[in-house]
Symmetry: C2
Subunit: 209 residues, 2 copies
């Protein structure tokens, strides 16, 4: 649909919103028409929050998580187990794992995964900084928590090779298998096959961290 | 889910996005994490477009449509038929009708419809300005193009009463009936009943404006 807008300002605002991922022109128009009806203050604070975020947000100098300071809350927390580092693709994955309340170690955010299709190589990721951290004798375990995809596995394998020289390290990978609550009948064969190969002792499967 | 954010700036930005209608906290986080990765320029132009829109957008002094000038493109266009005014609820409806390419008259944007549930009465709408425009002998027809809902009908009736003193005016209402492409079997009974009562002559039903 070749929409004609009654106002250039309106069209500009719709164009800006429609650049965001997953926001089509119809949704963009709906959001913009909503903003027009709000207080000036509210629109200002919306715009200001975006500019501030983009200008002032920092990345933790240790784990590369998003942070307000040079070192993030997690790395700065003496209550966390600094012997364990969990490697994740991005900031969202940190939040997802934090929400499980199951993990008390530190993180390392790669900023992506190796993807030849998208032209992302190991040099584009925070792998060197991970290797530097892992070199410390203080670190005992690296947990690889990347997506169970081809790209995730490629990245896992690359990191595993990079870390193979450190004999003080245990490198582990998060369990893959049937999702809790899923019925066997509807689980795909690859997942099911892997869950049989990687079976755990019955008593171990109910242990907590 | 009580999400803990790694950064206050991030949380503020997510909060602002999540105020928009139809944007939940998960979507807001996705959009904000996207914005962080963009050029500063792009985020600035996004924020600027919203502020400019809110500060500089005008409403046409004749029809109350959104406009960059005091009088909108449609009202200012001498090629439009100024004898006909189509009454709509909001700016979006103007755009929708314009896209049909079937209407060459002018508009009048009410800015809402009468809705006791939401506390919107006739005084909150641009009804007095409509009556003023309709008083001109130059106007021949008012087309009511509101939603086919209880609120729409209430508003239609209210406006019809307000205009009943003007004997130079024809007041019409857009046709209601079976949607083009719909099967009778799946059309609701009220619509179907109304489409039988309001049947048109066969030859008339294919005429264009």
């Amino acid at each position: 649909m070749n929409q004609s807008y009654p106002s250039q300002l309106l069209e500009n605002a719709v164009n800006e919103f429609a650049k965001l991922p997953g926001i089509g022109r119809k949704t963009a128009l709906r959001l913009v028409l909503y903003l027009i009806r709000q207080d000036k203050n509210q629109v200002d604070s919306f715009a200001e929050a975006m500019i501030k975020l983009r200008n002032d947000v920092k990345y933790c100098s240790i784990c590369r998580n998003i942070s307000d300071d040079d070192i993030c809350n997690i790395c700065a927390n003496p209550g966390r187990d600094s012997k364990t580092i969990c490697v994740v693709e991005n900031v969202k994955d940190v939040m997802v794992i934090e929400n499980t309340l199951q993990y008390k170690g530190l993180y390392h955010v790669l900023g992506g995964i190796i993807s030849p299709m998208e032209g992302i190589g190991p040099g584009d990721l925070e792998i060197d900084s991970l290797v530097k951290r892992a070199a410390s004798e203080n670190v005992e375990e690296i947990i690889l928590a990347l997506s169970a995809t081809m790209e995730g596995d490629t990245t896992n394998f690359y990191i595993f090779r990079k870390l193979s020289g450190f004999h003080h390290l245990k490198v582990s990978i998060i369990a893959r298998g049937v999702s809790i609550g899923d019925e066997l009948e509807y689980t795909d064969e690859i997942t099911l096959g892997r869950s049989i190969v990687n079976r755990t002792l019955f008593n171990d499967s109910f242990k907590s961290l």
